[in-house]
Structures are given as structure tokens and as C-alpha cells.
Symmetry: D2
Subunit: 292 residues, 4 copies
């Protein structure tokens, strides 16, 4: 929490069955308390019997100190009427982020570089690697590094140790090319969103060495997908995707390098949007109220 | 006007100085009349002392028949309080579109093809060319063609003739590679928005044969810009831009062909967004509430 | 065949095991006959024991009249030494193209529009549809249309009828959203390359209504792939791919419209590159010596 | 120089008036010495009376040791016949690179990060800043930093000091957001290529605060251009350009952040292509034989 003007604002996210009067109800509530809506975006999956999603940024002096009362009043006076699910985020309360890595540094270093430039409004609580190869690079950015190896047969213990580092200490965990599968049990106990990044091809290439497979198949486009992690491997709600063109001249090494460039850009956007409370998840799908 | 369900909807566009309560005021007005807001997008140029822009789509049974009363009530009960400029568009009232061309057909044929596929919700009142070369292609699409030549020294008469075809008969005029400059006097008398398309380069190449100049300069990106026409040539509010990559292998002819592909795509998007009432102009700038 | 200067040129395509001296051998052969190499592109899949691919455009007065002798000499003096597979195409001999369609016109009309603008150097021998819905649009472009229905259980007869129209009369067949599967037997008897276009998603959505599936999954990128047809459905060598971004705002209809725009652009590029003899196929992969 | 297999290769670049026999002459020379051409790309600005450009990569055991004799022979036996300008680069001889910066770190840190990942095959001899703000970040990458301030009226002395650091010690100088104009005299004395990066807009916005101007104008595309530096400010031969889309939602700060992302990507590609000897300059234009 802080006293600067930014802390005078809130970000309200709601989702509920669509019906007339939602926007009027919410905005009347905010207006009655003197809040100024500075950004608003809404989405209806279908005007008839669809789902309604909305994100509002507003300014209201003294909001954080009165947060509990404000939230209780919103729940009583508005949310109940419309059967809303909702949350309010306070930019003044920075999200705490833990990052898991293996041996490839392009994603974690992109995140740390942007964070140091002030593009990611978060507290980075630390980086945990199942290898030590990135330790020096992480420390050079002024961020703590912990080594939690994942020896064959040691997943249970590794997840226990990870939870010791992360549970209750993070609001978000980012898998920045962490090459281990996390169990559903781990995700449950962690209890906060987890964002992952992986390469994407048209068509898809399951199995080992996907860049080699894609090269042998002569694809002309390679891409990456950032998504929330669910128990279904690589199949959680998609947050962001991007692609780049490649030609027959590109070697497998060129594919890998170009793929790395896309991965780090896509992951950075996904993490930024999450930190700015721009993403709502409904069923297997995201609504991303992107700002730019 | 029509009786189909689509005609039960309206698109409200407003712009005014930003201050608390605008969204609440507008949405309460709509809710009180039983309207269901099916899409809403807003933009504030600056939360402090900025301009506020909003577009709402709503459904309301019987709206079109009661349009006059509805608009009067909105003006009295809402717009006045906030110093709003506003308009309501009725999807059931198709916009009438006139198209001006010279001798290049790629833009006009793209528009007519999309229109026939149902992508552009408009009545095409006709195509006017200062050459006859596109006449057969236009007629083959089932659209009228008029020839209004622009001989040297004959601009005044040509503009008079164009006004005879267009004034009072169009809600929008599209310059689909019309290679004549229109006077401010003509634009005033026409009295409806005019959309133009032109090539764009980094850097810009004023003067004749811009594709040849860009080729000689070895640009790696070529583009196109669609904009509203003002008296300042090629300098009105930008609606849409896009680009494509080119390499040293591309000839001037490749530049021209690629440029034509971008021009027709960009112009088609700009016209569609205008027809869907997604564009607000403020000073020299557009706010485009794009749907996809 | 023609007498214009363009007919004085040839396009030589070769592919063979890579080893020193290939370029020297080919270019010495051409130089000895007075040919001027005006474009050359080569690719080696791997400098050690890889495959070598090359495309050369050259000018040589009187080439077409002397084509038989020229090809025999090349085979004797060069190709044999290097174990080459090769072919020479003569721009003066326009490729004959047949197009198959069903009920969606965006791809075929894009091809015909570009063809009429002179961008596709081919003779369009006709369009065949298993529906009649596109007949008028095709005829309006001055191209013949034949109706070959494919009733349930009538595939064998339909393919026989298609072969009557196409076999021996085409150098290329384009499936411009032709929604029927062609048998391996048909492809064998046809004996010329067949290019197909289909949508592409990350991840892929097999089965019916892929756009609806992709929409439900919330993908952020949609694309299209043009490929040569083999017996493996949608799995032949990829010629070209492209994509466009979509957001949660896009409806299924927006997905379909955007997808159609990508499909027609990708198919048009693939067909143009084929007509310009820019594509070599090796195993399941293409080498595309794109010109721009 | 090294003994690894990579050092057994050369990259030959030539440019000359186009005429028959160039490729044959060059490739026969290479074949006669047992070289294997592993990549070849050529470009003719015009088959009739145009300029011819070619880049060949070849493998030849013992090349570097015999470089002087090899180059003399090439000059005598081939280059003279065709009036060629040419050079041979040896991948085993790493280019020495100096980087100039001011206070923005996104470009220099991108270069150093890629360099440490092995994507840029160069020796970074050091970073020189006219401010000290990036000193720690540069040192953390294991690269030397020197401070050469540019006080008002002190340009002459500053350039003298820069030359002391760079002249004779670099094969390339990169301006990674160096916000000082370099004199023609400085460029002459430096005597090696200089690559610069700057933002690019459609249309262009000369003068101060271009991002603010572009934002006020409502552009939909922002970009960056990397180019060789000549005395004409921001007007040397273009190496690479790229762009990103922005909407009305983007603030000036979003423009700046997005612009920075494009700048660092474009500069990194331009520097990599230069280091790989993929760029030929002719008059005000580049031919870029990009590898991927």
C-alpha cells in the first residue's frame, strides 16, 4: 500500500449473466461515491443469454484505506442484484511474482529487464531454477535465485520445496521456460494463477524436438502461446499468441532463435496484462482488455 | 427502415469533456427505457481534464419508430448535463455510399466484392469515374457507373456535375484511387464524410512516382493510409494504416502490386468501420472502436 | 509460345545431392551458349551431404525454338555429371489452370481478379463447381463454368467427369475452397500438381466447424495454409502460410471473414509462385524461391 | 583466426555491372580450388544494363592461412575481367564492435544479451556513453564502459576522445540510441561503417518529441529504421525496418515502450546481418541477403 496518487485508484472486474442495467448499476454505484471512471471496457459473449464481462479503472480519493467498506457495499448494493462474480484490484498493492526457470534464459531475462525498466509493476520475490545455469544472470539483476533440483523420482519432494518458497508469498507464478510438468495437486496448493509459455506451430508437432520437426515439415510460420496453466498440459486458457515468418533458408538454429524472440515477447505481454488486471477467464477462454 | 430484429437496435456515439458520472448517466437513461447494452467501448484522452469518447450498441424494441422522441429525451435528460456532442445511428437505416474512381480498379472492385458478400452494410448508389476504363467491371457487379471527365481547366464544372450526382444522395463518399484533388468548396457543399486511401512510406516520398522513389531508396516496408478528407491534402484524420515487407528483390512493379493489396485491404476496413459507426473524430485524430 | 522478348527466357530448376562444382557447371553451360543469368537463387539443406536446390532465370535469344536441343545438351553435359533432377520452364508457354470450387467464392474470385489484372500469368481453362452458386460470378469474369455435382455415393462418377474436363488440358489444378476429398487414384490420373487452401489454427481443431471451435477456445491468431495435395489429407508440402490477429471481441462471423481474407491472399501467392516456377518440392517440404 | 572448421570458410561479396558470365567465372574459380559453395544469393537491379550483386558462402580447407594468395588470385583471374568491386570476409576473424549510448538502455542491453547468447558473432570492444547512467548495466554484462561527455561547445573534443577509443580498434560502430550528431569529419576519420537506429512514423514527424506528435496525430502504426550513417542525418542506406500497430487506447508512454521494442529488434537484426556480411551498399540503397 502507498500514499501516492496512483493508490487512489481501483480496477474493477466483473463477470455475470448478461441482462439490461448492469453498466447503469455499476456506474451509478461508482458515481454516487464520487469515483471517476478513467477507463472502461466491456464484452458480451452474446446479447441474448450471453455472459457479460467488464473492466473499469476508476479514481477515488482514499480508496485503499476504505477498501473493506467499499467492497462490502459493492457486494451488497450491486453484485448481489446481478449475480456477479467480481474483484477489485488496487494498483497501489503490487502483485508478488515468482518465476520458475530451467536452463534457457531468454524469457526470464526479458521479464527482469522489463521489470527493471518499470514496465512490469510487480515485486519479483525470486527466481527458482531446477538447474543453476541462470543463477549468475539472475543475481546480476538484483533478484534472488534458489535452486530446487528435480531429480528423477524426486518430483514430490521438489514440489514440496517449491511450495515452501512460493505458497503464500506470491500472487502469480510465471513459468519462464520451466521444463517440468506441475501436478494438479501442486497447482491446488499453490492457489494462485500460473502463466506458461510454449512454442506453437501450424500444424502442431507433438513429441520431442518440435523445432526440428517443424523444420523438416517446412512450415512458413512459427509462433508462441502464453496461457494459464491448468492440469491439462499446454491446454489452459490462451492469453496471447504471436508468430514470425520463416523461409526455407532458416536452419533449425534460426527457428530456435526466432522462436525464442517470439516466446519472450509474448510472455512479457501476457505477464504485463495480468499484472494490470486486464484478463478475465471464463471456462476455457480469456477476455483480454488490452490497453494498447 | 425495416422491421427485422436488427432494426430494434441503435448505436450511440458521444464525445464531451471527461468528468465523473457520464457512463452512469447514459446507462441509467438506457436502462430506464428497457434497452439492453450489447457492446460498449469508451476512451478518455486523459483522466484529468481530458476528452471522453463512448460508443454503445443497444437493443430496444420499437426504437426506430420512436426515434425522434428517444433522441429528444436523450438530449434533454442526458446530453445537456454533460455538454455532450452525440449522435445515434440506426443499423436499420443503411448508409448510402458513392464511390469515385479514376483508372485503377483494385480498390473499387474490392469494395464491391465485399459489399456483394454482405460484409459492407450499405446501399451503393453508384460509381463515378473521370475515366471510362472501369465502367464494364462496375456494371458487371450490378452497380451504376457515371462518367464525369475532368479535363484541364474543367475542375469547376466537373465538381458541379459530381455534386449533382452525389449531394443529398449519399451519406458517405469513398475515393477509391480517385486521382483528382477536391476543393474545400466542393467538400463543404457535399456535406458528408469523404474517405480517401493513399500509399505510405517510411520515409515519405513527396512528388511524382513515389513507388519508384521508394524503390530507389531501398525501403523495407511499404504501406497505405485511409483517412478522412479535409482541405489539407492527404492530411486528414487517419482511420487505418497497414504495411507489408519488401526486399531488395522486389521490383517497382512488385512494390506497386503489393501496395495495391494493402490499399484495398486498408480502405475496406476503414469503410466498414465507418459504416458500423465505429469512428469518432476529434480535432485531427480518430478514435476507432474496432470490433474485432 | 510467342515471339515477344519474354519468350527469350527460361527458368531452370535443379535439385541434386550437394557437392562442389554444381553452380560452376551450370553457369558455364549457360555462359557458353550466351545466356545471361538474370536471377539466381540456391539453397543447400546442409553443406555436408545435403540436398542442393537452385533456380535460375536466364535470357537467351531464340531459346524456345531451340528448346529440345538445349534441354538435350543440358542433360548430357551437366545434369548427368551431378545426378541432377531438373526442369526448364518457358515463360512464353503459359500454364493452363483449372479451378475447382464449391459454394464459397472468395478464393476463386480473388484468383480471377488478379488474373484479369495481369498478376497471374496463366490460361484459366475453366472453373468447375460441385454447386452452381458461383456460376454467374465466374461467367461475369469471362471464364467458363462447368457443373459437376458430387451426390452421395457418386464420387467415382464425379471424379471420372472431372478427369474428362481436366486431364491433359491443365498444367495445374487449384482447389479454391473445393469441399470434396479427392482420391489418390484421381490424383494419379490427373498427373499435374494440385494446390489446396485451408484454414489453420494454433492449436489445430480437427473435426467440424473449426472456426466455432477456435472461437470457443479463444485463440488470438487465425491463419491459412496453401499446400500441394497428396493423398494424406491437408498434409502435403506447405507452400505458404499467413495469419491475422483476432481478439475476444471478434464473433465467429468475424473469424470466418478474417479467415477468408487470409485464405484468398495465401492461395493467390501460392498460385503465383507456382506459375512463376519458384517452388521445388523435396520429400514433404518445399523450397520457395520467392521473388519479392 | 581459429582452427575450428568454421574458419575454413569464406564469404565473398561482389558488385559490378551486370553481364553474362559472372556467376560462371566466380564459381569456376572457386571450383578449381576445391571450394564448396554452401550458400549463394545474387541480385540484379535490372537484367539490361543493371548492377549485379552476389554473396557466396564457401568452405575451403586452409583458406585463412592462404588468404592473401587466394585474394590476389581472385583479383587477377576474375575480378578484373568483370570490373568487380569485391571483398572476402572470414568468419574466423571476428569483427570488433564499439557501441555508443546516451541514457536509454533498451538497445545496448538487447545487443549485449544477444551477444552473450551467441547470436552476434563479434568481439565487443566496449561501450561508450555520453552519460554514466548505463555504466553499471554494461559492466554487469562483462563489457567495458567509458564515459565521454559531450558538453555544450565540446563536440570537437568529444569526437577526438571517441576516436581515441574507437579508431583502429573497431570494424563497426553501433549507435544504440546515441543522441548526438556525428560530424562528417568524424565519420571520415573513423573509417568503418556506423549503424544507427531511429523511430519511424507514417507520416514523418520532424522536430522534437516525435512520439507525442504521432500520438496527437493518431497514427495507427509506429516503426523503427536501422541504417548506415552518412553525413545526411537519418538518411543513410536503410538496412532494416519494422512496425507495430497501436490504437487510440495507447498513451504516449505506450508509444514509447512499443517503439523501444521495435527499435531494439530492428537494430539487433541489422547488426547481425552486418556481422554475417549479408549487406551490400550501392548508392543510397542496401541489398540485404538475409539468411532466414
Amino acid at each position: 500500500m502507498s500514499d501516492d496518487p496512483a493508490s487512489a485508484g481501483g480496477r474493477l472486474l466483473i463477470w455475470c449473466p448478461d441482462r439490461p442495467g448492469i453498466v447503469a448499476g455499476v456506474s451509478a454505484f461508482l458515481a454516487a461515491r464520487g469515483a471517476n471512471i478513467t477507463a472502461s471496457d466491456q464484452h458480451s459473449s452474446d446479447p441474448r443469454d450471453g455472459r457479460f464481462f467488464m473492466r473499469m479503472e476508476f479514481q477515488l480519493a482514499g480508496l485503499e484505506r476504505a477498501a473493506d467498506e467499499f467492497e462490502r457495499a459493492f457486494d451488497d448494493e450491486v453484485a448481489g442484484l446481478f449475480g456477479m462474480r467480481w474483484r477489485i484490484a488496487y494498483p497501489g498493492r503490487r502483485k508478488r511474482v515468482g518465476i520458475l526457470v530451467s536452463h534457457e534464459g531468454h524469457c526470464v531475462l526479458e521479464l527482469l529487464t522489463r521489470w527493471r525498466r518499470g514496465e512490469l509493476d510487480a515485486n519479483i520475490v525470486g527466481v527458482i531454477g531446477n538447474h543453476r545455469v541462470l543463477e549468475d544472470d539472475v543475481l546480476a539483476q538484483g533478484v534472488e535465485f534458489a535452486h530446487v533440483p528435480t531429480p528423477r523420482g524426486g518430483r514430490e519432494e521438489a514440489e514440496r520445496e517449491l511450495l515452501g518458497h512460493l505458497a503464500g508469498r506470491c500472487d502469480l507464478v510465471v513459468l519462464a521456460r520451466y521444463m517440468q510438468i506441475l501436478t494438479g495437486d501442486f497447482l491446488d496448493r499453490l492457489g494462485v494463477p500460473v502463466i506458461n509459455i510454449h512454442h506453437s506451430f501450424l500444424p502442431a508437432f507433438p513429441g520431442a524436438a518440435p523445432y526440428r520437426q517443424a523444420h523438416e515439415r517446412g512450415v512458413k510460420i512459427i509462433g508462441a502461446t502464453a496461457h494459464y496453466v491448468t492440469e491439462e498440459l499446454d491446454d489452459g486458457p490462451i492469453i496471447e499468441q504471436d508468430v514470425a515468418r520463416v523461409s526455407h533458408r532458416a536452419t533449425v538454429a534460426d527457428f530456435v532463435r526466432t522462436g525464442a524472440d517470439i516466446e519472450r515477447a509474448v510472455l512479457a505481454r501476457a505477464v504485463r496484462w495480468h499484472l494490470e488486471d486486464r484478463i478475465l477467464v471464463h471456462e476455457r477462454k480469456t477476455v483480454v482488455f488490452a490497453g494498447e
